[in-house]
Amino acid sequence: MENPVTKRLLFDFFSDKTTVIQRTLIEEWLSTAENQELYYKYLDEWESENPVFRPDLDNALHAYQSQLDGANVFSVETESDTRQLPVWSLRIWPRFVVAASVLIAACWFFQKDLMYETLQSPAGKTSKYMLSDGTQVILNANSTLRVSRFGFAEASREVELEGEADFDVTHTTDNKRFIVKMGDSYKIEVLGTKFVAYSRAARKRVLLSQGKVKLQLPAGKQVYMKPGNLFTSTSTDTFDISVPAKPQQYTAWKDQLFYFDDTPMLEVTRQMKERFDIDVRIADSVLLERHIGGIYRAENPDDLLEILTELLELEVVQNQNITELHTQNK
């Protein structure tokens, strides 16, 4: 027979019902390009006849169509400096040149403002944001998150963090990475996870509560984190991964709480500066040596100062912009 490979035989093969000898037959038959085309055609027919599940076409199509519409502008922009310009865009070429050159010129002047949308949380307040990909962010007080404006959901999802934030990253349908840049040399890369990141000049910190995280460190190093892990690094770029016994202390800020556990007063003042942007000074060396513990709710600096004065029998003296703490004289 001229053509021993029939549609029937291929269907049998797709259903795992062929013998080894039949397989060699198909293999030989596949050596021509036309037959390879035929193979995929029959594979498609076979899939039509043997469905395993029924995906939601309407929803998916809707998402794809908005991509087609949204990506219209986007792909023209990125295509500007590559050689392969799609044929169909020739018609809008002149308009595009004008728009692009204005855009490029503007970019030089306002690079950061233009490229990034800035989300901020003032002193003493946490703010919640939902990004366009569905990711939820809680920004701690005194923190800034920059989100790239262009193609945030389409290309890579990149944000820059200064301060502290809690991330609940959605896993996109197309497995797009979510990247948090912390300073110049630290980067967090995830697909969909929950974590708290802290990035200030003196220290970087990441606490992972769910999923998996890849960290890019200075000098090209990488580490992977597991849920429950705490990553800390210092300004000298030495780092450590541990499993904290009390992870709440790193997430307490989300509930306007201060979490002290044998915490020295100096650290308490540092945290107040960070959260409320107030300068607290302790001159008394005995007082500086004291450590305190406990979880306290404080929505403003006065709340915490009140708690501290009662706890340690202190006196608060406001001296211009500086708050001084003294031990009460009896």
């Binding site: 797709f14 795992d16 293999e27 390009a33 498609d44 599940f53 794809y64 087609l68």
Partner: protein, 221 residues
């Protein structure tokens, strides 16, 4: 074909017929599809992508799920291929039929995912692989189908309880505690069953020559 997922779905074949009024796909219709698609792409690529998506999305998802055993992941993989098709202008570069390109990409990506699932140290990154210029040997073409047969076989051979937990978790995408109440066991036990299923899959596929060969060639370094 006996199928492990059938018992967990409410008779998909009936649902299929009820919701799919269009003509049955005979050989001639399929050939015409390609020609119509090509003409549409020449006139308006956006419309072409739209049409292509309507025509192949469901079938491609079905192909992908045979490898990855998760409806959600399968849909993700297919959407990703269509996104690239539009955004990277692949429709202008392909030399084969749209259909052949789509099936090749879906199979390759599903395969990559499976590989990543079994060995998570290999990065999940198929971007560097240009399927447009890729010609597959006849043997490779067949190996893809054989790979999902093997996946199927391994899952079918799992002990019943283990198989049910695996399917509910991976195929249905349910949460551990939901499966726990459904099977009347603890969530911890479900987790153990699912990971046992994955371990079986891992050890069962370890001897697969195709996986090894491709892992070797696709290593990014």
């Amino acid at each position: 074909m006996s199928n492990v997922y059938l018992n967990s779905l409410e008779n998909p074949l009936l649902a299929w017929d009820a919701h799919e009024p269009g003509p049955s796909q005979t050989a001639t219709v399929v050939t015409d599809d390609e020609r119509i698609l090509r003409i549409t792409f020449q006139e308006d690529p956006k419309k072409g992508c739209d049409l292509l998506f309507r025509r192949y999305y469901i079938n491609l998802c079905n192909q992908a799920v045979r490898f990855v055993h998760s409806k959600e992941i399968a849909e993700d993989i297919v959407s990703e291929v269509f996104t690239d098709f539009w955004q990277k202008g692949i429709y202008e570069q392909i030399t084969t039929s749209y259909r052949a390109y789509l099936y090749k990409s879906i199979r390759h990506r599903s395969y990559n995912y499976l590989k990543w699932q079994l060995n998570k140290t290999v990065p999940l990154d198929s971007e560097g692989f240009s399927i447009v210029s890729e010609t597959l040997s006849p043997d490779d073409i067949l190996q893809y189908s054989e790979l999902h047969h093997q996946v199927e076989l391994i899952v079918q051979k799992l002990p019943p309880q283990c198989r049910r937990a695996y399917i509910l978790k991976r195929v249905e995408g349910k949460k551990y505690d939901e499966i726990a109440t459904e099977l009347g066991i603890s969530a911890k036990a479900v987790e153990a069953l699912v990971s046992r299923g994955l371990a079986r899959l891992r050890s069962g596929l370890r001897e697969n020559r195709f996986l090894e060969v491709l892992i070797f060639f696709c290593m990014p370094f």
